[in-house]
Symmetry: C3
Subunit: 261 residues, 3 copies
């Protein structure tokens, strides 16, 4: 019986204009000719660890069991920062130990954390500026062929995490902020929808705009109207039906959002 397929999912800030992503794939296929490789995105802002953190945290659950997530957003490449591998119940994650896997820090599905250091599975020569090519890609290739994470280095007990702004609840309501703006201009906040006690009647303030009530979907408001709704990952979002909320409200990442009962 065949072994399960272990797809490799790539998340980088390399962009698609340069050959770096293609080279990663070449190295992976050199190690594992039938590897299945999926791009999550390569357009994370250059060295933007916070975006990579949020993006991976909100995406990984949609992939099949066995998937290997390779996150190369790595401003510290060539320093003594470690590269870590985390085995959870269902997945493996590879990344520099720079905080972007911090969403797993207290996750009870974590089974093992390893410092990646077994050069046997690296490219023969490791540059000081492109560990994606020389370490991450060949290691991912070996893992997707079935290598056990434990073969790659010694166990460690803790990892770094980014400190991302968290929503805070008081009797007067919930305060959070915009943590992402997507291609459509929709504003993703860090306010979990399950914090809102009576969604139908809350008042949401973002910049100078006040929005009454949480809608079910875009089309619950007329075209051009601003609305709040529960986004597809469970956080409060703000959009303009058939429009661009970021542009209309002149809002960027970091803008405060307040919800009053």
């Amino acid at each position: 019986m065949g072994r399960a397929i272990r797809p490799i999912v790539l998340l980088t800030d390399f962009g698609l204009r340069d050959p770096y992503v293609g080279i990663l794939k070449g190295v992976i296929l050199s190690v594992h000719p039938t590897a299945q490789i999926v791009d999550l995105t390569h357009d994370v802002g250059s060295q933007d660890l916070a975006s990579a953190y949020v993006l991976l945290r909100d995406s990984y659950r949609y992939f099949p069991r066995g998937t290997i997530f390779v996150s190369v957003v790595d401003p510290g490449v060539g320093t003594d920062r470690s590269i870590i591998g985390i085995q959870t119940r269902d997945f493996v994650f590879l990344a520099p130990d720079n905080g972007i896997l911090g969403f797993l820090q207290h996750d009870r599905q974590v089974r093992r954390i390893v410092r990646i250091e077994n050069a046997k599975y690296f490219r023969p020569t490791v540059s000081s500026t492109f560990h994606g090519r020389d370490i991450f890609a060949p290691v991912a290739g070996h893992l997707s062929r079935g290598l056990n994470l434990g073969q790659l280095g010694s166990a460690i007990r803790s990892i770094r995490s980014l400190k991302l702004p968290k929503a805070t609840s008081t009797p007067a309501g919930v305060s959070g902020e915009v943590v992402a703006v997507d291609r459509f201009g929709n504003l993703v906040t860090n306010i979990p929808a399950d914090r809102l006690s009576s969604p139908g009647t809350v008042c949401i303030r973002v910049g100078r705009r006040e929005i009454l009530g949480v809608a079910g979907t875009y089309a619950d408001r007329k075209a051009g109207k601003t609305l709040a709704y529960v986004g597809s990952t469970g956080f409060l979002e703000i959009a303009v039906n058939r429009g661009d909320a970021a542009r209309k409200l002149n809002v960027r990442v970091g803008q405060a959002v307040r919800v009053r009962p």
Copy 2:
């Protein structure tokens, strides 16, 4: 004997910066681990149904028999708009019933039209804002594994279509317009080349520019010169040899084009 491979071709307006396309692929692979997934493009203008219509109409014939086309340009997500599946002699198409599959409306190769409503093949929870992830992706995964379209819902008889501007012929010539501008700045019109009776001697007017005769290829004119030619999909196009016609002629989608004998 193995069943034929049924590739899944994705066409969306999601862009590649956000994780949405990666998530679609994760869901597809969760249903069908060896699915073959191809990106047609994800850079259709946000909610630009007309571009998606033209783009898919002019591309689908180049894919292998059995291909499943998944078009998620869906400004009406969460409303009561239907999701439809169309089986033709060679292909399957999935899309919201918002007109982007209208080029199939009178196609004699259509074998069956179905309203997609069998939630057994959806993700367990369906959000109101991301049917790409919750309906289109898992349904495409099941179809690529061999599920029959008829299992997905009840047959319907008609679909919506966009009204795209059509070229009109009069004794004085053919009138059309620019329907797309590609990366090279080439202007794609809606004037079928076979409407031109004597291509060598026609006069083509776009904006203030007059072009004499239809050329065979770019290099039939000197570098920097404007030319008309029959594009690779059979419509009249206008280009500048080794240059950018949209910029040189200051032309956008919608610009009138007139051909006189």
Copy 3:
């Protein structure tokens, strides 16, 4: 025993907004349903032969033996320029004979050069403006299924090459220039690192900036500081640690770079 997989690597200036790349893949899969297709990049500047040359030269070694590289940057499409195939010890390369494969001109691993002319392996109708779809894609599909390059046309003895600027050495030092600027704003030069006799003490001048010594990696300088280092392909590069050198130094492709002992 199964035959080796022969991945197809695509390098074009088509961009990802138009359907052209997707169509190439459709045609390849029509010929070879299980072909493995990898994008090197499709964002080479429109008709920018020099960038395609450098990019492919510095990338191809990272792919598995048997890989077929298809380079469609083709401003001469439809003219009498040839399409060539080059078999090296480990790879096959397809491209217009416009110089972008010139880095193979004197390579001793070249085994065979062929003018691609056997229309049996083309699409039935060949347009004059889209040979990527009508010739390159089906030919690559057949090669990846195991077709021998010799079946595609007659042997030829020489190919064209671009004249790219080369670094020159004098007793006073090495003179070169910036040949690429990547997404991070790193400046890639054409100065091979092995030309520098005492890397630790050289003085590198780019524009008005002088940089002392070649660093090991970005983090050998403080954040915001400019540094020179040996890039991952063996050439001298200039960067700003956690910053954008192209922007900080206001430098573009073509800028002179001088190294003095």
